[in-house]
Subunit: 119 residues, 2 copies
């Protein structure tokens, strides 16, 4: 029974949450960014606290490298590791799907919200 092994859970562990996928995606296209540069590059207003935390997770997972120049004022750069670059394959697909279905998702979510409000 079953027999269908999946790697989906593994992948979700890596990109799940509101930000990690987005951060990875941005870094993949720039190959090295400073903290606030990255912060500004992300559309949805991410706070520095959240960005710091999510970046740390990505570093812990070996997807992103953190380079601290140890200067004053501080200068830290982030870039995707070779391992992290392998995520580009599915991130590209996720991005394409999201772009194609942006409209539909929005309206469906509005409907769901309306139903929830009625309760």
């Amino acid at each position: 029974m079953d027999g269908q092994k999946t790697g989906i859970d593994i992948t979700l562990e890596v990109v799940c949450g509101k930000w990690k996928g987005l951060i990875l995606w941005k870094l993949l296209h720039e190959n090295h960014m400073r903290f606030n540069e990255l912060r500004r590059a992300i559309d949805g207003n991410i706070s520095s606290r959240i960005l710091a935390r999510e970046l740390k997770k990505l570093v812990d997972d070996g997807l992103v490298a953190r380079i601290d120049y140890e200067t004053v004022p501080p200068r830290v750069e982030y870039q995707v590791t070779p391992y992290g670059k392998t995520t580009a394959s599915f991130l590209t697909n996720m991005n394409n799907w999201g772009m194609e279905h942006k409209r539909q998702s929005a309206t469906k979510r509005e409907m769901a919200d309306l139903i929830n409000r009625e309760k």
Copy 2:
């Protein structure tokens, strides 16, 4: 600056969390399953409460259809909608990546756990 629009956030809204992607993936390969059948098909021991909740989200998002035969005892079947089937594109890629990197992810996580214990 920026200019890079992303659909990644949209996609993450749909499959994020520990289970939704997995449920969708299972349903995509069976095209109609009953509640407990689906429950048993999922490896990681999902509770009925969680499965019910996650399925409801997928139904609300229009990715899964719920067919209630209104019989006693109850018989409910779930199947992926045409819209839901469009997720197969990126889910396949996510699955492939996860399968390829299962080992690495495991060891990296163990290391992270060790570091956390030391604190």
